[in-house]
Every structure is written in C-alpha cells, then in structure tokens.
C-alpha cells in the first residue's frame, strides 16, 4: 500500500513574544492510502499544528525547523507556491470545527459550492453533491445563507465542499465538537461513508475517544508535540501501553462503572521551548523511573504498536500497572 | 504603553507625533515669541509671508501666525469639551439601553437613529437660530451629531457582554443593575469608548470649523481655525496665505486625530483589523 502522508522527525516552532514555542518536537507518522487515522490529543498537544502542516496552512509565526513532510509524494515545505496551491486544491480537503466560520456568511450555499467545484459546475451537480453529503432538500439548502442552516446541516455542507474535487486526503479538525451530541455521530458517519466511496484517506483530529473508537482504523496519540503511541484502534484504545494513553482513557467519563471515580492526570501539559531531552510525560507519569528524566525515548514496537516510552513492555512496568 | 506603541505603524506614529505637537503648540503658544495675536497694525495690512510674519498679516495688520496658534487651541478645546461631555452621556445611555433592553432600549436606540439621520449643519442652523450663535450652541451641535456614535457602539458592546458568564453570575448573586454596569460592564467597554472618542473628536473639529466658517460658532474676538478661514476667504484672491495657512493647519490637525484614532483602535482590538467602511 502507498502512503499519502509521510512525515519524518518534523519540528515546528512558533515565534511568540515570550520566545519560541515548539509545537511539534519530532513527529514520525505515515498515513496509508484509504485509511482512517485519528490523532488524539489535548489542547496544546500539537495535533492541530500537525493537521494544518499537511496543507502548510500554518500562521506566519510558525516555521519548520527540521524534518520532512510529504503529502502525495510532494515535499510540502519545499515546493513552489503554484504547486502548493494545486496540492491544496486537488489533493486535500479540510473540515474545521466550526462550520459557521468556514462558510462565507454573505454568500448563498449554492454559490459557495460552485466556487469549490469549479466554474463548470451546474445546479444539478451542486444538488447531487449536497445529496451525497446527506442533506435532504438540496435545492432549499443551495438557496440558503449559512445562518439559515442548523449547525449539523452547515457542517454537512462543509463536508460536501471538502469532497467536491475528490481529494486524496481529508483532514477533519474536531469536526463534531461544535455540534449537538445527538447528531455528532451521524455527521462523522457521513464523513466516513464519503471517504469510503472515494477511497481517500481521512485524518480526524479529536479529543473525543468514544467517537474515535467507533470510526478510526488507526489511532495516533499525541503528547508534548510527539506521537507517543500509534497502532490499530483496537490495540491502542483497547489495550494501551503508553502511560499517557492509559491515563487519558481513565480520565474520560464514559467507561467508569456507576459510583466509580474518574482519575484525573495530575499536573499540566508541558510547554516546550526547545528539543525535549527527556520523556515529556515523565513529570505527570505514575510509573516513571530515573532513566525517563535523562534520556529521550525513541520509537519502539511493543505489542503490535509503535510507542515512545522507555518502560513500556518491560517487566517492571507491567508489575506497576498490575498494582 | 510601550507595548501599545510598539504595535502601531509608522504612519500612525507620525499622526500621533503631529497631534502631540499641535496640542503642545496650542497650549504653550501664548508664551512663545510669536508676536501678539491681538495687536492691530503690527505690520502692513495683508502683507505676504516674511521672516517677521511667517503666515503674513491680516486685513488689520495683525500677525497671522499667533492667530492660527490661538485658533488651534480654541478648536481643540471646544471640540474636546463637547466630545467628552457627549461620551459620558452616550456611554450612560448606551449601557442602559443594552443592559435593560425592552422599552428603555427602544427609546434610546430609536432616539439615536433620529439624531443620526439629522444633518449636522441643519441641526447647527436650527440650534443657532434658537440659542443664538456662540460656543455653547457649537457644543450642542457637536453633541447632537456625535451622540449616536457613542450610543450605538456602547449599546452593541453591552449587548454582547450581557450574556457573558461573569455578568450572569453577578446577577444571580443578587448584584444590583448599577453594580453590574459599573463594576463589570464599564471597565470592559471603555476601550471601545476611547476609540469612538477619537473619531468623534475629528468630527467635532470639522463641525466646529464649519459652524465658525458660517459665522454660527463663537463670535469675535474668539477665533478658531474655522473663523480664521472665514476671515481669510474674503481676501482669497490677493492674500491667499490666510486661507492656505489656516486651512493647512486645520487639515493637519484632523488628519492627526484620525491617524491616532486608527492606531488606538488597532492597539485595543488587534485582531479585528481595519474595517472596510
């Protein structure tokens, strides 16, 4: 299988008034053609930066410091403007958190769709595309302004626009976080169905582990600007080996039994100013050792997934977990 | 202060510098060795600019430069007094309208609309006719023209704030409406009021000058930039320096206020950028 995205040791730093902030601290990731990958992480973990980097849609104060990122075989950070524009237009499709921000409030949906589809698109094409986004009554939707649609409908329009040019890679950043609980799942369902029909790859950036567990083939957990655990959804979320993944699942409401208490993760996530020379989760880790403070973990394969932890899989660590 | 200054561009900095220079000049002008603005026959009548009389002399032989400097002070002072009074009234009305809503809102918002649709010069003629020309009626005209600016902005910002968590929490805790307005709303709208203040100031200066030019503002010996312009216009063909000098200073003053206003707005609302209107 070919890879639509391959990313090697990618480092991205934001220049802020308080000095540099390292958002990505060496990310290694590949996304295969036709797979659905979920990137899980809390705010500040770097997941949005990674998603935006795939289209080089980062703000001007962000810069690549090291590493390589290829999308569809093209080096995203070392290509001409025209090529980049073509990549964004023909290869990538984006779905953002808030559809009302993604849509132009002054333009009817039909006109915006036409812009996304190209000048030759006819009304029937627009309606057909809206129908593929599972919008009933596409004619009414095409004649509406964004504010006349519900949040769920607007997000479906955004999804339809994202697939207008049959992209090879769909990137959805918290696609349902602003939607009602009762329709979140349906919208994700639509997104996944369209991905399947087109054979594109889908990257979902989210912190909702329940949603990810239902829809993603593979999961990558981000912490401190690195991917600390990645593998198939069943392995990573079903039997996590990285202490952070385990802590995250324990902290999320939904899997506890009636009357049980949730276990929050103590401390706060790190704010990196440069390369992290140790394990970035060490200060909050319940099983850490001296070695975690002194050496930077390298990717290893433990129990059929890649993990960035010096202890994962070792005898001592297993004992701790059992306790 | 320094961080605000660091964010504004060169043009705005120039505007701010010009504004400070003009205000200082107006304030300390009488103590500078520029000559006596009131001395009739200081030189020949309507003489062209020279070393002795940089802006020339007027029809009574008075040196024009000290008269322009006095005019700067008069124009700024009258506009500033008018606009600050208006800002206080407008902020109060806008806050009440936005916070209480209902009938109070209807009355204030519609009142602002009516004032806004009334041409300032027409209002000026009307007020001058009723109150007689003078500084007080000039202040009244400026107030009428700029009051809607404050009411509209303050009302809409207050409306946006009213549903914020800290406002609702204070209400639920039993805070009186006045407490909510003074402790919670006022400190959060003051930035918007200041931005509006600078725009209102430039409008106020234009109105003051226009009224003085029409002879409806303060009467002689009071002399603002507008009345100097009026005075000079009678001799436009053979003593153009009177109109040119007072007109150039007036334009520079209004431009300085506007540039400073833009800078203040950019500094207070860095994310919004410049609007298209």
């Amino acid at each position: 299988m070919n890879n639509i995205v391959s990313c090697e040791d990618l480092v991205i730093t934001y220049q802020s008034s308080n000095g540099p902030v390292r958002a990505l601290d060496g990310v290694d990731l590949t996304i295969a053609e036709g797979e659905t990958l979920a990137i899980v992480g809390e705010s500040g973990s770097g997941k949005s930066t990674l998603g935006m980097a795939m289209g080089r849609l980062l703000p001007s104060e962000a810069g690549r410091e090291a590493g390589r990122l290829e999308v569809d075989g093209m080096p995203v950070f070392d290509m001409a403007r025209d090529d980049l524009r073509r990549l964004r237009r023909d290869t990538l499709g984006f779905v953002f958190q808030n559809p009302m921000v993604a849509l132009d409030p002054t333009m009817r949906i039909g006109r915006q769709m036409q812009r996304a589809m190209g000048r030759r698109a006819r009304a029937e094409d627009i309606h057909a595309l809206l129908e593929r986004g599972e919008l009933d009554d596409p004619e009414r939707v095409a004649n509406s302004f964004p504010h006349q649609l519900s949040g769920g409908m607007a997000q479906r329009v955004v999804v339809a626009m994202a697939i207008a040019r049959s992209p090879r890679l769909l990137i959805a950043d918290e696609p349902t976080a602003s939607l009602d609980a009762s329709i979140q799942d349906k919208v994700i369902g639509t997104l996944c169905r369209l991905r399947k029909e087109s054979g594109a790859s889908l990257v979902i950036l989210s912190h909702d582990v329940h949603m990810i567990a239902r829809h993603a083939d593979r999961v990558a957990v981000m912490y401190g600007g690195r991917i600390v655990e990645q593998g198939t959804t069943a392995r990573v979320l079903g039997a996590p080996v990285h202490p952070y993944t385990r802590a995250l699942l324990k902290a999320a409401a939904g899997h506890e039994k009636p009357g049980e208490w949730l276990t929050p993760i103590p401390g706060t996530p790190p704010l990196l100013t440069g390369r992290c020379a140790a394990c970035s989760f060490e200060p909050r880790c319940s099983v850490s050792r001296d070695i975690c403070r002194s050496s930077r973990p390298k990717p290893r394969t433990v129990e059929e997934r890649e993990v960035l932890c010096l202890l994962a899989g070792s005898e001592a660590e297993r004992k701790e977990v059992a306790q | 202060m320094f961080s605000i200054f660091g964010r504004i561009d060169r043009l705005s900095r120039f505007g701010f510098g010009l504004l400070v220079f003009l205000i200082l000049l107006g304030l300390i002008g009488p103590y500078l060795p520029l000559g006596d603005p009131m001395r009739i026959g200081a030189g020949p009548r309507l003489s062209s600019p020279s070393w002795l009389f940089p802006f020339g002399t007027d029809e009574l032989g008075r040196s024009f430069l000290p008269r322009v400097v006095d005019g700067i002070r008069a124009t700024f002072l009258l506009s500033a007094v008018a606009v600050i009074i208006t800002a206080i009234i407008g902020t109060l009305l806008g806050m009440v309208a936005g916070f209480f809503g209902g009938v109070a809102d209807q009355v204030v918002a519609r009142g602002a609309d009516i004032l806004f649709s009334f041409p300032a010069i027409l209002a000026g003629l009307l007020i001058a006719a009723v109150m007689g020309p003078g500084q007080i009626s000039a202040i009244a005209v400026i107030s009428v023209a700029t009051l809607p600016l404050f009411i509209r902005v303050v009302r809409s910002v207050t409306l946006g704030l009213a549903s914020r968590g800290f406002i609702v929490a204070a209400q639920v805790a039993g805070a009186s409406p006045w407490r909510v307005m003074i402790v919670h709303i006022l400190p959060n709208i003051i930035g918007a009021v200041i931005v509006q203040l600078t725009y209102a100031l430039s409008i106020g200066m234009i109105i003051e000058s226009a009224l003085s030019f029409l002879g409806l503002g303060g009467q002689a010996p009071y002399a603002s930039l507008g009345s100097l312009l009026r005075q000079g216009s009678a001799y436009l063909t053979f003593a153009p320096w009177l109109v040119l000098s007072s007109g150039a200073v007036l334009s520079a003053a209004i431009m300085a206020v506007n540039l400073t206003g833009d800078a203040v707005r950019d500094a207070l609302e860095p994310l919004k950028g410049r609007s298209l209107t």
């Binding site: 009762s182 799942d185 939904g254 | 929490a169 039993g174 402790v183």
Partner: protein, 255 residues
C-alpha cells in the same frame, strides 16, 4: 451515578411553561419549555441533557429566577421565589465558556469575593473566606492576585466554581460547565464538583449535551427534547438501557 435520600426540594417546578415572542395576547409564540415539573433535593444533582434548542438552557434560567414564567410556579426551599435581590447568596451559576467566566479586568480574588460584597460582609472577613475557598477548589491563595488572562481554562473554571460556592448557596446551576475543557481537566473539575457537593450539600442542576459527564456527576437525569422531558430516571439507568428511543440515541454516542 450517586445515591440520594429525598428531603424537601430546593427547587420545585410545577408545570412551568415559558413562551417566547407571543403576540399581544400571548398567542403564536414559541414554547421553549412545555409544562415541566421537576424537584431538586438538597445535596442532589439533577442532570439535564438534550440537544441545543431543546429548551434546557431556558429551564436553567428558570431555576435561577432569571426567566419570567408564562405559567406554572417555581418554589425555592418551599417558598415562592420572589426577587433575585432577596435570594442573595442562596443560589449561583457556573457557565460554559471559561474565557468569559470571569471579568477580565478584575483580579481573581475580587471576582471570588464579589458575592460576599453583595451580601455586605466586612472586608476583613472576606479575605479569609476567599483564601479558604480558593484552597477548597485546589488553587493556591496566590491566585487571588492574578488576572484571568494569566490562567488556563481549567483554572478559570475552578475560580468560577469558587465564586459560585463562596456564599455556601443552596442551589447551583452548571450550564455546560465542563464542555469546553480537555478530557483530563474535565475529570478534575467533575471530581471537584462531586467532592464539594458532598461537603456543602447544595442541590445542583447540571446542564450538558455530554451524557457521559452528566451521568457521572448526577443522581437523576432528565432528558429534554423539544421543550419536554421525554425521560426522567435515576442516573444508574443510563449505565444500562434507558427507556426512551431518544435517550438510547444519546447513549449510542458514548459507547
């Protein structure tokens, strides 16, 4: 899910109706809340779930005395509610957006002590109470001197909870109070609310679209749909199979 006994309710709603924007004679308006009855006992949390537009925020405003009723009655601790001014210190609220929970121009300490100022407590007494309450919500007393802009979302929500608890109110409304927080911070804040309720015994209404968080913190859950309760049941029910099809649809999102 938590156990509870049932003493006299803090909040007692009896067939409450709220209609928005009716004509002069009250016709043709939109009924946001349709004849809802609900009792919340002291020390008990009632969860209120439903999609946006279901009327749950309006119902929350009703319980806080912010929303005039079109018909029905609302009793507070067995008495008619009266005016908010008379209920000073007896109820409070924590709202959704951490960035707007606190007045950005006030130091956190000032925000936390405000309900006491409104009650007319002398300044000396207030200071001690603020420090103790900040500690209560897991924040150093030094936070009193900070401005909200210097705090993270979770810290701001803690300060908002400290403000809500400072007068030891009998009833608190949490309107999407944890929805904007990260998973691990959410757990901290949810646990904090549970602990503080065990200690202070306030009644609470927890409004959320997130069933997982709601059932974790609530004793009972009311599912709202188009202005009506379609199901009201013990929270334990929502760890199994709830009755109403709409509740089951919500359940599907957290499995």
């Amino acid at each position: 899910m938590r156990d509870s006994a049932i003493p006299a309710p803090v909040v007692d709603l009896d067939r409450v109706v709220v209609t928005y924007g009716g004509g002069l004679f009250g016709r043709g308006g939109f009924q946001a809340v349709k004849a809802i009855s609900l009792q919340i006992a002291p020390g008990q949390t009632v969860g209120l779930v439903g999609e946006s537009g279901s009327g749950k925020t309006t119902l929350g405003r009703v319980c806080l005395g912010l929303q005039p009723l079109s018909s029905g009655t609302m009793r507070f601790c067995g008495e008619a509610f009266g005016a908010l001014r008379q209920r000073r210190g007896q109820l409070s609220v924590v709202l959704q957006h951490p960035e707007w929970a606190l007045n950005p121009r006030l130091r956190c300490g000032r925000s936390v002590e405000e309900p006491l100022v409104i009650l007319g407590m002398p300044a000396k007494e207030r200071r001690g109470r603020v420090a103790a309450m900040l500690e209560n919500v897991g924040l150093d007393a030094g936070f009193a001197e900070r401005f909200p802009g210097q705090l993270s979302g979770g810290q701001r929500q803690r300060v908002a909870i400290a403000r809500a608890l400072i007068t030891e109110p009998r009833f608190i409304v949490f309107d999407e109070a944890v929805s904007a927080l990260d998973v691990s911070v959410q757990a901290q804040v949810l646990n904090l609310i549970r602990e503080l309720q065990d200690r202070h015994g306030f009644g609470a209404l927890f409004i959320s679209h997130d069933l997982a968080a709601t059932r974790y913190i609530s004793h009972r859950i009311a599912v709202m749909y188009q202005g009506e309760f379609v199901e009201v049941a013990e929270a334990a029910r929502f760890y199994g199979t709830p009755e109403h099809p709409y509740s089951r649809k919500l359940m599907a999102t957290i499995e």
